[in-house]
Symmetry: D2
Subunit: 272 residues, 4 copies
C-alpha cells in the first residue's frame, strides 16, 4: 500500500492548500491512506471542529495533534466524539481523546496511527517510548495492521532518531513533526521502518516557521513582546512524506518526500 503523511497545517494558508490540493494529490499519486497533523490549523493554535472537518473532507483518514492539541478549548470535548482525531498518547491519564487509532482506509487497508510527544526541549510529559511500544504491541504490524504510522511530535533530532531505531522493524513509518521545517533524511532503516526527522509544515515558508516574521524577529532581538504571533498568509508549501509498503510485512519499501506549492523546492513522490 501507499500512504502519505503531511506535517503541521499552519493557519489559513495551510488549510487552503490542504483543501485545494490534497484531493488531487491523493488521486494523482494513488494514496491508500492519508494522515495530517493539524495542531496549528486554527490560527496557529490548535484545531477547531470546523477545521478538523475540513481537513477530513479534503482526504485525511486520521488527523494528529501535538503540544498545541488543546489550544482551541473546544477540542477538549469534540475529540471525545471523533474516531479519526488523535492527540499525543503519552499525555496525562484522563486527558480527553485517545493517542492511537486503528482504522480502515479507502481501499480496505487496516492502519494503526499513533501520535506521541517528545520530551527533549518540550514541556514535561510521560515517557513516549514505552507508550508507543505498548500501542504497537497491541496491534502488531503484519498481523492486525497493514501499516503502522507514528507521528512523533518533538523538537530534538536525537529523540526522533532514537524513536526510529527503537521501532525499527515494528512500524512502517516514524515521522517527526513540530519543528515545521522538513528534513532531508528520509530513508528506510535496516529493519524496514521508514524514518524522516520532520515532515515539515503545510504553511507559508516566507515567515518564521509559519508565523509572520516581524514579531518573532522582534522577540529574538529585544526579548520584549510588542505584538502577537499571527500565521503568515502567503501560499503554503504542503510538506510531507510518502511511503510504499511491502504488502506481506507492512514494512517500508520506499520513502519519498512530498513538497508541493509555495516557496520551497518542489518534490513529487513518484514511486516508479
Amino acid at each position: 500500500m501507499r500512504f502519505l503523511f503531511l506535517g503541521d497545517v499552519m493557519g489559513r494558508s495551510g488549510r487552503d492548500a490542504i483543501n485545494e490540493r490534497l484531493p488531487g494529490i491523493i488521486e494523482r499519486y494513488k494514496f491508500d491512506f492519508v494522515v495530517v497533523n493539524g495542531e496549528n490549523a486554527s490560527h496557529g493554535k490548535g484545531l477547531t471542529e470546523a477545521h478538523f472537518n475540513a481537513i477530513r473532507n479534503a482526504g485525511a483518514d486520521i488527523v494528529t495533534l501535538g503540544d498545541h492539541a488543546f489550544d482551541q478549548r473546544e477540542a477538549l470535548s469534540y475529540i471525545e466524539r471523533e474516531t479519526t482525531l488523535i492527540r499525543p498518547i503519552n499525555m496525562a491519564p484522563g486527558t480527553p481523546g485517545r493517542g492511537a487509532m486503528f482504522v480502515e482506509g479507502r481501499n480496505g487497508h487496516r492502519v494503526l496511527v499513533i501520535n506521541a510527544q517528545g520530551r527533549v526541549f518540550m514541556p514535561p510529559i510521560d515517557d513516549p517510548f514505552r507508550a508507543v511500544e505498548a500501542a504497537v504491541a497491541a496491534c502488531p504490524l503484519g498481523e492486525q495492521a497493514d501499516a503502522i504510522i507514528v507521528d512523533f511530535h518533538t523538537e530534538a533530532t536525537s529523540e526522533i532518531q532514537a524513536m526510529g531505531v527503537f521501532l525499527d522493524g515494528k512500524v512502517s513509518l516514524v515521522v517527526g513533526t513540530h519543528t515545521h521545517i522538513p528534513t532531508a533524511d528520509h530513508r528506510v532503516l535496516r529493519g524496514g521502518t521508514a524514518l524522516m526527522a520532520d515532515a515539515g509544515m503545510c504553511g507559508d515558508f516566507e515567515s518564521i516557521i509559519g508565523t509572520e516574521s516581524d514579531e518573532p524577529l522582534n522577540r529574538f532581538l529585544t526579548g520584549i513582546p510588542i505584538g502577537r504571533f499571527t500565521p503568515a498568509e502567503g501560499e503554503a508549501t504542503l510538506c510531507g512524506v510518502a511511503v510504499e509498503t511491502d504488502p506481506r510485512t507492512g514494512l517500508a519499501v520506499r520513502v519519498l518526500p512530498l513538497r508541493i506549492g509555495g516557496s520551497l523546492a518542489q518534490a513529487e513522490p513518484i514511486f516508479d
Copy 2:
C-alpha cells in the same frame, strides 16, 4: 562564484569522507570556496590540530566550530595561531580565537565567513544577532566582500529562520548547523540571501545523529548512563549546501543541497 558549505564533521567516519571525497567534489562541481564545520571531527568532541589540518588539506578554506569548539583543549591554544579556523563570534569576550574571517579563495574571491551560536535550547551565550550584524557591517557584501557565509550553530528552527530574515539581502548564505540532520528548506529569500535551516552532518546516519545508537537509546529509555557516546563508524554521508552568487551583488542566485555517500538519499549540486 560558487561555494560549498559542509555541516558538522562527525568523528572518523566524517573525516574519512572529507579526506576521500572533498577534493573530487571541489573539482567536479567547480567550487571557488569551501567552508566545513569541524566541531565534532575529533571523536565527536571538538577538533584537534591534526584533524583541523586534515580538513584544510582536503580543501576547506575556512573551518567553523560550535558549542563543542573547545572540547579538545588544545584548540584553546592553536586557534590563536590559525587564520582559517573560527569559533562562534558571540562567545564571551576574551575567548581564544576569532568569530569571523575575511579571506581570499583559490580563485581570488574575497569571502567573509562568520560563525555564531544560537540561544534557544542552547547554553547561555551573548546575542548572536547583534554580533553578526556588526561583523557584516564591517565588511559589506558587494563592497569588500564577494560573498558572506554565516554558519549559525543552533538548535531551534525558529532562531535560524529569524537569522535568515534578519540578514536577508546582506549576506550570501545563512546556514544552520548543530542538529546534524539536513533540512530540505534550502531557498533564496526575497532579498537574495540563501537559507537552509541545517546543513546536516558529515557522518554515518545509521546512528543517532552520528553517535552509535545503543547508549543514546539507553538514556532515552532509562535516564541512566551505562556507557559512553562514541561516533558511529559506518560510511558517512557528506551533507551540505552549495550556492551560486551574482558576481555584482554577492547575493545568491541559486542554492542546492549536497548529499553524497552513505545511507541518505543522494543530492548533487548540479547548477545547470
Copy 3:
C-alpha cells in the same frame, strides 16, 4: 548605614502589605535606604506607573524589576522618565530604561543599585556577570558609593552563588529575586559581601509562589490550561533582607532576614 531589600511584590496582596507596613518598618528598624523588587506588583505581571508610585510613596528609594519588567506595556515609556526605577542591566542594547542607578538616600548615603538577570533556566539574555562588573567598576564601593546593592534576578541557586563569589568584596549585598521563596542562607562572605540566594516575595504564601493554587496545580497535573493565573489575595508576608554596613568600607557587617505578616514564620531584623 542600614538598608533593606524586599523581594518581588506580588499583586494586590503584596502592594497592600507594602503600603501598610513598609513606612512603619523603615521607622522601627531605622533603615537609611530601601530597595523593592516590583516586577509582579501589577496583577502578577509587571508594574504600572500607578503601582510604581505607590511603592515609592511607601518608602522605596529604588524599585527593581526582572523578566516581567515590561509585561505592563506602559513601563516601556514611563521607565524612561523615572530615575528610581531600574530593569535588568543586561537586557538588549536599546531597551528602554537603565539597569543601574546611583542615588542619595534620606540620610545622605550615596547608594548604587544594580539589577541584573540570570541565564540558567531563564530566557536568553546577555552576560550578567560582565555587565554588573562594569557598573561596579564605574562607581566603586568605599569611594563613590557608600553601599552597592545587586538584585540578581535568577532561578538557579548556582548562578546566584556564583555572582556572590564574583562580587565578594566589591559590593555590599548580592540578593536573588525571582523564585518567590525566601532562602535561609543569608551570610557575609569572606570578602565582606552579604549574600542571600533569594529575598522571597512580598505576597500571599497560601498559594503556589503567589498565584492562586488551582490553575498552576491543574497545569502540573494535566499539562492543559483551563484558566488563568491570578495572584492569591490573602495576607502577604513581606520578605526581604536587611544589611548593616561598615561606614568606612561599605561592606556588610551583618545581614538579617525580614519576614513580617502573613503565613510564614516571622523574622525581625533586630541588629542589636
Copy 4:
C-alpha cells in the same frame, strides 16, 4: 512523634558532619525518625555502598536520592538489596530499587518515606504527582502510617509548592531537595501538611552550592570547562527540617528548620 529530614549530603564535608553530629542531634532533640538525602555524598556524585552504610550508622532510618542516584554505578546493584535506601519513585519502570519504603522507627513508629523527582528544569521523567499519590493511597496517613515524609527532589519553587498543595492533609511533610540552598518558608499548610521548599544541603557553604567555587565561576564567565567540579572541603552546615506530628492523625503540628555547624546562621529545632 518527632522526625528530622536532612538535605543533600555533599562530599566528604557533608559526610563528616553527619558522622560527627547526627548521633548527638538525634539524642538532644529526641528524634524518633531520621531521613537523609544522600545523592551527593560520594564526591558530589551519587552514593557508594560504604557511604550509604556510614549515613545509616550515624542514625538515618532511610536514605533518599535524586537525579544523581546512580552516578556511582555500584548503586545499581546494592540498592536492590537495601531496604532503607530509595530513589525517585517516578524513574522509568524497571529501574533498580524502589521509590518508597514503609519502615518502623526506633520507637515503634511506622513511617512511609517517598522520594520523587520533579520535571521543571530537570531531566525528562514521568509524572511525580500521580506516582506519589498512588504510594500515599496504598498506605494512608493515620491508618497504616504514623507519618509520611515526601522528599521531592526538584528545581522549581512552583513545582514543590504545587506538590505541597496537592498532598496537603495526606502526608506529614513535603520537603524539597536538589537546589542545595535551604529555604525559609517552612510552615504547616491549612490541611496539616508541613512544607519546606528546600531542606538545603549538608555541605560547606563557602562554595557554589557545595562545589569549590573556581570551576563553576569559570564556566559562568567563559562557558568553557577548564577543570573539574570538586566538593568544597570546609566545615559543613547540616541543613534540614524537623517536624512534630499529632499522634492521632500523623499530620504536622509544628515544623522547624535545623542548621548546625559551618557558615550559615544557626537554627536549632527546639519544640518547646
